[in-house]
Structures are given as structure tokens and as C-alpha cells.
């Protein structure tokens, strides 16, 4: 393997929970780790969740200590705003080209005080909050995001569009804002690669029958996570578009399952968790789950489902035909398995979308020369046996980049990549 003292160097692509776990274990073994993340912050999808099932822990609190460790570990170089552009070589001796976009904010001198946001004249949708709130052109996506330093979004910053605006720079007390920063091309020599690029959710506009983006108060599960989040757009206040609290909600499972042809494995639990969360915040709220087959596999999930069901959440096995606006509310027309047709009226509709591989997966597959399956997930070397090995020796996959899965399975895979990599080097 590529020698660094007496151990390996590893490139980890994607700094979500899987990438974080792999990096920490590798670094603790003495390996040098380059942790590449395309966003300006790290923590992946998990940091969007207010609480995680089944113990309803705060996700940010859960992974923040690990994030701090990443930032402090001398063996780990976290490269945010970075993407892998090319990879050559073979196991033990890969060379990776990484493009690191300029942040225009100096990480060493910025203390994350946020003084630069206020004067910025630009306001755009905050993608991290699913567009439910606005952000400036210099911004941190949400309170608590790490590294605790903003980024300038050059697509929207008026200075990068030619105007002579220096308002953020003038507001900074630490001379941390540097408009002259340049994108960098890094060349890394590594012995192994971990691909942990995670997931995105199915585009709900492809299932128009549910009224997403057409009717009021139809949300995706991810949007509702942000509405529930204490650091989110409503600071955890559960409100409808008219700012009133909803009295009822329905969660439709398996949206996009038919289109995708697979079960996304975690949506039942995520939907049950949201019911739990909403009932906790608004105890009188009536919540119905519209599902087909309940998938609560393993040793702990069924108990959580039973608890939520006993708390008064309705579980209706049905297929939904159509959702329409009914006054200020929504009417859900559904059909049960024995053919009965019914209508359910609710204030709020939550859709649980299928899980898909991240947007750039195909490009990355090409760069790494590793195969994808028909759904776009990275293919394991030996289906049904080895899920972290790819067909290319020295390149490993972990987490939802391989197939939809929950946090514990993702963490186990991340740890498994470490087992494979550290046993390669002897």
C-alpha cells in the first residue's frame, strides 16, 4: 500500500455518517485520510433529522461529537466543497485528482460569528431547508452546521456577477473573507478508496396524483423533518402554510416504490417516527398512515411501531388514488385491499419518497470505473455476500450509495470498509 510512515492513505468520498465513521476508524489506526465532501458543510443527510428512530435521539447531538473528532484528528484532512475528478492506478497506489472549490472565507481566521450575513443584499431559497426558508449569498446552511464557517455562493453573490459589493467583507472583524481565493486542483496519492456518497429522495413531482407542489400543505418527509427541527425554518413549530397548527395529517408510504421497483427499507420507520414526533408536539393531532406492507425488520423496530400504534395513530392498508384540495384541507381518496373505497380528510399530507442514489453517482462510477446496478446504486462485488467490496480491488462502498438502509447498517458497512482496507495493507 501507499506508505505514510508505516501505514495507508485512504480517500473517503462523502462525509455523511458512513464517511465519518470510516474516516475516524482509519485515522485512529494511523492511516492518513482525505475526507472529500461536495457540500460546504459535512454530516450528510443525518444532520437534517431532528430525531432518529427508535430512541428519538437528536441526530445532530448524536453525531456532533464524531464531527468534532473529525475536525480535531490530525490524520484527517476534511476537504469540503470538493469533488473527485479523476482516479488512476490500482489498489495500494491510486492517484486521485480532487477539485476543491474556493470558499472565499478563510477557515483559519473565521470564527463563525455570522456577522457577515446580515448586510448581504441577496436572498435566495435555502436548499438545506428544502426551500422552506431563505438564505443570503454568504451563508451557513443551518445553525450548528460544521465547519462553523460560511461560504459564498458565487452563482448568486452580486460581487461575482460584476457589482462592486464588499458588504460582507466590511462586516467581518477578522479579515476572514477573501474574494481572491481560487479553486484548487489537488493530487492525492492513496492506497484505497471508500465511496460513501449517500442518497437523495425520489422526485415527488413524478407522482402527480398526490398533489406535491400543486396543492397546499403537501410535504415530503424530508421537508417535515426540517419543519420539526429546532434549528429549522420554523424553529420546530409545526405549522401549515397559513401558520396555523394542523389538526390532522396523513403519511403516504412507498411513494415512488412502484416507479423504482424496490422497497426503500427505512421509510416505514421514518414515517412512524414522524407520527411519534408530531403527536409529541401536538398531542391532539390525528395521524393516519396509509401503507401497503409494513417493513419493520430486525430486533427493535416492531416495538416502536406498536408503541406508536397504541398511542392512537391509525394504520390503514390502502392504495391512494388521488388527492384533491377540499376547502383549506386535503381529501385523500383511497382503496383498501378488499376493494373498499374511502376518503380521508386531513390538514396536512406527508409523502414518504423512495430513496435513490445521489445525483452524481453515474459520473463517479465512471471516474472510479466501478459498476452500478439498474437503479444506479453502486454494485457490490458479490451480491448476497459481500456488500462493501466493489469489482475493483481497493475501492469499497458503504451506506445508501450501495442500497437503501438505516443508520446502524450504514455504520456497520463503514466499519466493514475499514476491516477490508486495514487487512489489505499487510
Amino acid at each position: 500500500m501507499e506508505s505514510n510512515g508505516n501505514s495507508t492513505s485512504v480517500l473517503v468520498i462523502g462525509a455523511g455518517i458512513a464517511g465519518i465513521e470510516s474516516s475516524l476508524l482509519l485515522a485512529n489506526s494511523g492511516a492518513k485520510v482525505y475526507l472529500v465532501e461536495k457540500a460546504s458543510y459535512f454530516g450528510g443527510n443525518v444532520i437534517k433529522w431532528e430525531e432518529v428512530f427508535p430512541n428519538m435521539e437528536c441526530a445532530t447531538c448524536m453525531i456532533a461529537p464524531k464531527q468534532q473528532e473529525i475536525l480535531q484528528n490530525e490524520n484527517i484532512e476534511l476537504l469540503t466543497l470538493s469533488q473527485v475528478e479523476a482516479v488512476q492506478g490500482s489498489v495500494g497506489d491510486f492517484t486521485a485528482k480532487v477539485k476543491k472549490k474556493a470558499r472565499y472565507v478563510n477557515l483559519e481566521s473565521c470564527i463563525g460569528c455570522n456577522e457577515c450575513f446580515q448586510p448581504c443584499p441577496v436572498e435566495v431559497d435555502n436548499e438545506f431547508e428544502e426551500g422552506l426558508s431563505k438564505r443570503k449569498a454568504i451563508y451557513i446552511p443551518c445553525a450548528g452546521a460544521l465547519p462553523n464557517a460560511p461560504v459564498i455562493d458565487t452563482d448568486n453573490c452580486v460581487r461575482f456577477k460584476g457589482e462592486d459589493c464588499k458588504l460582507c467583507q466590511e462586516a467581518c472583524m477578522f479579515e476572514a473573507i477573501d474574494y481572491t481565493q481560487q479553486d484548487e486542483e489537488l493530487e492525492l496519492r492513496i492506497g484505497a478508496i471508500v465511496v460513501a456518497t449517500g442518497f437523495k429522495t425520489f422526485d415527488l413531482t413524478q407522482t402527480p396524483q398526490y398533489g406535491y407542489k400543486k396543492l397546499n400543505n403537501v410535504y415530503s418527509v424530508v421537508e417535515v423533518e426540517r419543519i420539526c427541527a429546532s434549528n429549522g425554518p420554523t424553529e420546530g413549530q409545526i405549522v401549515l402554510q397559513n401558520s396555523e397548527a394542523p389538526e390532522s395529517a396523513a403519511i403516504i408510504h412507498c411513494v415512488g416504490r412502484k416507479e423504482k421497483g424496490y422497497c426503500s427499507s427505512v421509510c416505514c420507520m421514518a414515517s412512524i417516527k414522524q407520527a411519534h414526533f408530531l403527536r409529541n408536539k401536538l398531542p391532539k393531532m390525528k395521524i393516519s398512515q396509509l401503507y401497503s406492507d409494513l417493513c419493520v425488520p430486525g430486533r427493535v423496530y416492531q416495538r416502536f411501531y406498536e408503541e406508536v400504534k397504541e398511542s392512537g395513530v391509525d394504520f390503514i392498508r390502502a392504495t391512494v388514488n388521488e388527492v384533491t384540495q377540499q376547502g383549506t384541507g386535503l381529501a385523500i381518496k383511497y382503496k383498501t385491499e378488499n376493494g373498499e373505497e374511502n376518503t380521508l380528510n386531513v390538514d396536512m399530507l406527508i409523502l414518504a419518497p423512495a430513496i435513490e442514489p445521489e445525483t452524481d453517482s453515474s459520473k463517479l462510477a465512471e471516474i472510479l470505473a466501478i459498476p452500478q446496478d439498474e437503479h444506479g446504486f453502486f454494485s457490490e462485488k458479490e451480491p448476497d455476500l459481500d456488500s462493501v467490496d466493489t469489482s475493483r480491488e481497493g475501492i469499497f462502498i458503504a451506506g445508501c450509495a450501495q442500497s437503501p438502509k438505516d443508520v446502524p447498517d450504514t455504520v456497520a458497512e463503514a466499519e466493514a470498509t475499514v476491516g477490508r482496507i486495514l487487512s489489505l495493507s499487510r
Binding site: R257, C295, R299, E337, A416
Partner: protein
């Protein structure tokens, strides 16, 4: 030696200075006891700030340090490093968070200044009682004991074995391969389980430094992470092997719940009701029927009902893989007996992940019937049987079958419980060994250095079991590095010999099994190699004997008193 406490207040640019009158803070703190110097700096975490701090510690010959700045989460680490650079023990340093907890949240500048003064005074009062702590490390043994030689144990040994690391793979039966070697077909590729095991064993033989001990059982495990002493006994000869290992992997697999406890299914009474494992056995060429699917009367079945979720309600969990292997059974039946009628009697179909739904759809396409049912029972009906059930809406139904395959819940094998007791790992509500953290540490048990993988950890498929073995290997390889010492937690608990009454309360509450009882002295003793310094024992101890280093009562009382003064 007289104490000389240095207090440094960070302005954090304007972040603190804007809302806290720092000069007033300095004036208020200067007269406090043992305070040698109080100074401010524009940004202590900057290179300039750190240099200033280091030089000040040296110039003033400080014995203790207080930094009033941001959250310790952000910069405690930074300032501890400065202490080390200035030759001051880093545990003689305390941080007061006057940014997040004061300047940023208290609107009125006067109030914020008063509050900052109290916060810093509390840190000064506390730091005077801080103890200088030293990092400790211990020698560790890199070798590993793997208990259970099924597919998970074999893989763990493969990954772990190396010239510098010996692996002991202990299997109670006479051969490796576990349950998988007895499966004629595996989902989803319908390849043979014994072929898979053969391939895995070939890789195991290629791996180095592995000692396979079949027909053997682990009798005793003493010690702790990095230093376990193990006694293994070869059953036939009573030969004893003693070995030292640094970590233990439990891969003891699963058993099926015995359906005899659920008489409605007729198991043990009706001839042609079998369990899934018995059906598997029928399909292997070396099995009792020579690989033929036969009824007790020697004829092939014409109709087979596969009843899912047997015992699920009693267990309280879904066994995760049964839907998939029931679909596999349907395929095996259809392959051997093309005309056989197969009906899946199920409640919810669980086919998670990218690959399984397709397998289900293809199986359904073979003409397999699916009946969603609850309250299922089996009765004899002439030469055949009747499966009675209720639909979800409560209407009653039945179907005829001359063979019924029960799919019982999976549970950890009984060996797991014995080992859990030996290793003092608690058992959870569902009967599985407790994990260190349900989300973030899926393979680590609550005892450091002991890992639980595969079906011993929870029901799972082969792929997931193998992942867990590799995960345990990853954790072991990254911490037990040959030739490297293991660094211990510094702020551990300690139990005063004088005050301990030997009531053992601490032992019962310790989540890391880090406290032992000294029978001779009749007191509890903390094992520093295992203690994480969580403080549960200190809170529970009725006699005040247990305390966590640097969380002494004096420190906490002084701190609280100064805050409230």
C-alpha cells in the same frame, strides 16, 4: 506551593466585547483569591492569541489557567494544547463559556457583564481544586478470539488473521460452516450454501495465523479490552487451551423459536408440519430424504402452505429474513415439483433494499399464491391438512395443504446467553445482547473489546452478517494495533477505600462493567482500562466513595457556590 491562577478573557473580536464590559470583568476578578493575573485578548484562538497565552503562562509561572471565551466544544482542545506547550498540566485548566452562554444570549450589557463575572468566578473557584491528571496507556495483546464458526465467524477470522495477529476460531460442533452449509439454495442467486462455505473456507485457509478449534467450547473469559484471558476446552478429550487475546468476537448465530410452544400450528403432532430448517434439511442431497421433498408417507406434496411470522407476536420483533427465504422455498418447490401448489400465508411482506422486491415479483410470477392472514391455525383433514385463518377485516378463510412449512422467529442461540453471562453483557428486552449504541455502534457490545456480529446480534441475512464481521474486524484492526499501546480515558472514576462500604450499588449501575468487587478487602474497585468516566457510579454511591476525577464534590460545590454568590 502557592496557587497562581491566570485568567484570560477573550473578546472574540466584537462577539463578546460588544455585549460584555470586559474591563469591568477584569476589575471584578482581579481581587479574587489566588488570582495572579487577569488579562484580555482580542482573539485567543488565533495564532497570536495562542502565542500570547503560552508566553503568559510561562512568564507569570502560572499554576492554573482559566480561559473565558467560547464553548469548550469549540476550543477546549486548542487551549489544552497551549497548556501542554507551556508545560502546564492541561487538566489544571478550566474554560468559562461567556460567548454562547452569555454574550450571545443575554441582551442587556450590564446583566451580561454581571453574568460573565459569575461564570468566570465559578471557573476560578473550580480550577483551584482541579487535579493534575496524566494520560495512561497499557500494553495490549493484538490477538482475537472468535466464537462461532458459521459464515460470520469464518469471515471475521479471514479478515483478522495476519502474521502479527493470531486468531482463535472456536466452534462447538465438529466442522465449520454453521447453518449456511446446510442450505441447498440461498436467495437471491439460488446458489448452494455449501459451495459458499467451501469458498469461504478456502479463503480462511489462505489467511495466516488462524487456529481453528472445533468440538471446543469457551469455558472462561477473564480480563478486559486488550487483555483477556481465555480458557477453551476441547470437548472430546477435555484438553484445555489457555490463551491471551485483546478482543472477542461473538458470532454464535441463531436458533429458531420452537413452534411446539404454539400448539395452534400442530407442530410435533401433525406429520407433515415442519419448520423452515427441517425443510432446508430435506433439500440437501446428503439429507434424510436424499434431497427429495417428501411427505411422511413418502409421496411428494401436491400443495404446500408456508406460514410466515410464526411466533413473531410472542417475540415482539420481525425476524427480517423469513419473507425472503419463504420466497426461496417457493422457488425450490416449484423447481423440484413443477405442479405443486404453493401458498404463502403472510402478514406484511418485508423485502427491504434494492434487490429483494424483484425476487418477490419473479417468485409471484411462477404462480405462487399469497394470502394475507392472521390468527392462523393448522388442523388435520383426512389425509391432508386445513390451514384456517382470518383476513385483516376479520372474515374467515381456509385452504388445503398436504405440507405445511412453519417459519418461526429467529432467536439468539442459547450459547449467546451463556457467553453474555460470562462476559457480563446485559440481554435486552428481545433477548439479544445489548449494544454499546443502537445507532452508532451496531457491532460493539456494552463491554469494550467484545463484539457481537451476525444473527447473534439480531436477525439478518448472510450479506449483513458478513458486513458485521468485517465491521468488528475494522474496529479491532483500528484500535488493537500490534506494537502500539492503548491510551486510556483520563477522567475515570475512582472509589475511596476508606469510604466504600461494599454495598456494590456502583457495580449494578456501571454500564461498562468496569467495577469489580474485591472480596478480600470487601470494597469495589474501578478498572481504569474499562471506565469511561460517565459518573453513574458517583451519582449512585450512597456513601460518597465513588467519584470521577476532576468532578470531585469540592470542585462542584465551589463552582456552584461562586455562581450563586
Amino acid at each position: 506551593m502557592a496557587k497562581k491562577i491566570g485568567v484570560y478573557v477573550c473578546e472574540c473580536g466584537n462577539n463578546i466585547a460588544d455585549n460584555v464590559d470586559i474591563d469591568r470583568v477584569i476589575k471584578a476578578l482581579s481581587p479574587l483569591r489566588d488570582v495572579a493575573v487577569v488579562e484580555k485578548h482580542r482573539l485567543l484562538c488565533s495564532e497570536d492569541g495562542k502565542g500570547f497565552l503560552r508566553q503568559s503562562i510561562i512568564d507569570h509561572e502560572l499554576t492554573h489557567l482559566v480561559v473565558a471565551a467560547c464553548s469548550p466544544k469549540q476550543h477546549e482542545h486548542t487551549f489544552m494544547s497551549v497548556c501542554i506547550a507551556a508545560n502546564l498540566n492541561p487538566y489544571l485548566f478550566q474554560m468559562a463559556n461567556i460567548r454562547e452562554q452569555c454574550a450571545w444570549v443575554t441582551q442587556d450589557k450590564e446583566e451580561a457583564t454581571d453574568k460573565a463575572i459569575r461564570q468566570i468566578a465559578a471557573a476560578i473557584a473550580r480550577v483551584a481544586y482541579n487535579e493534575a491528571l496524566e494520560k495512561k496507556d497499557i500494553d495490549v495483546c493484538p490477538d482475537v478470539l472468535v466464537i462461532g464458526g458459521g459464515v460470520a465467524g469464518i469471515r471475521a477470522a479471514q479478515v483478522l488473521g495476519s502474521p502479527e495477529r493470531k486468531v482463535y476460531l472456536v466452534e462447538k460442533s465438529s466442522s465449520l460452516g454453521g447453518k449456511v452449509k446446510g442450505f441447498d439454495k440461498l436467495f437471491t442467486k439460488m446458489e448452494s450454501g455449501s459451495d459458499l462455505i467451501e469458498k469461504e473456507l478456502k479463503k480462511l485457509h489462505e489467511a495466516e495465523n488462524i487456529e481453528v478449534l472445533t468440538d471446543s467450547e469457551v469455558e472462561q473469559i477473564l480480563g478486559f479490552f486488550g487483555n483477556f484471558e481465555v480458557k477453551v476446552v476441547k470437548k472430546a478429550t477435555n484438553e484445555e487451551l489457555n490463551c491471551d487475546v485483546g478482543a472477542v468476537v461473538l458470532s454464535t448465530g441463531f436458533d429458531l423459536m420452537d413452534p411446539k410452544g404454539l400448539p395452534q400450528y400442530g407442530y410435533g403432532k401433525l406429520d407433515d408440519v415442519c419448520t423452515s430448517l427441517e425443510f432446508e434439511e430435506m433439500n440437501i442431497s446428503g439429507g434424510s430424504t436424499g434431497g427429495k421433498i417428501l411427505l411422511k408417507n413418502g409421496n411428494p406434496p401436491k400443495s404446500v402452505a408456508i406460514i410466515h411470522c410464526v411466533g413473531r407476536e410472542d417475540k415482539g420483533y420481525c425476524s427480517k429474513v423469513c419473507c425472503m427465504y419463504s420466497l426461496k422455498f417457493a422457488r425450490m418447490l416449484k423447481a423440484q415439483l413443477p405442479k405443486v401448489k404453493v401458498c404463502q400465508v403472510y402478514s406484511d411482506l418485508c423485502t427491504p433494499g434494492k434487490a429483494y422486491q424483484k425476487f418477490y415479483e419473479e417468485t409471484e410470477g411462477l404462480g405462487v399464491e399469497f394470502v394475507r392472514a392472521k390468527k392462523t391455525s393448522v388442523t388435520q383433514n383426512g389425509k391432508g391438512m386445513t390451514v384456517k385463518y382470518e383476513s385483516e377485516t376479520g372474515s374467515k378463510g381456509d385452504l388445503a395443504a398436504d405440507m405445511v412449512i412453519l417459519v418461526p422467529a429467529m432467536q439468539p442461540s442459547s450459547d449467546a446467553n451463556k457467553l453474555a453471562e460470562m462476559l457480563t453483557i446485559p440481554i435486552d428486552n428481545e433477548g439479544f445482547l445489548a449494544q454499546e449504541h443502537q445507532k452508532l455502534a451496531p457491532v460493539a457490545s456494552s463491554v469494550e473489546g467484545v463484539f457481537v456480529v451476525g444473527c447473534a446480534q439480531g436477525p439478518k441475512c448472510i450479506l449483513e452478517s458478513v458486513v458485521q464481521s468485517e465491521a468488528a474486524a475494522g474496529k479491532i484492526l483500528s484500535t488493537l494495533v500490534p506494537g502500539r499501546k492503548l491510551e486510556l480515558e483520563v477522567k475515570t472514576s475512582e472509589i475511596s477505600e476508606t469510604f466504600c462500604t461494599g454495598c456494590k450499588t456502583c457495580i449494578s449501575v456501571c454500564p461498562y462493567s468496569a467495577i469489580d468487587f474485591d472480596d478480600f478487602r470487601r470494597i469495589s474497585v474501578v478498572n481504569e482500562a474499562l471506565c469511561h468516566g460517565c459518573g453513574v457510579c458517583a451519582a449512585a454511591c450512597p456513601s460518597g466513595a465513588a467519584r470521577v476525577k476532576n468532578f470531585a464534590f469540592a470542585q462542584i460545590y465551589q463552582e456552584v457556590e461562586a455562581l450563586l454568590k
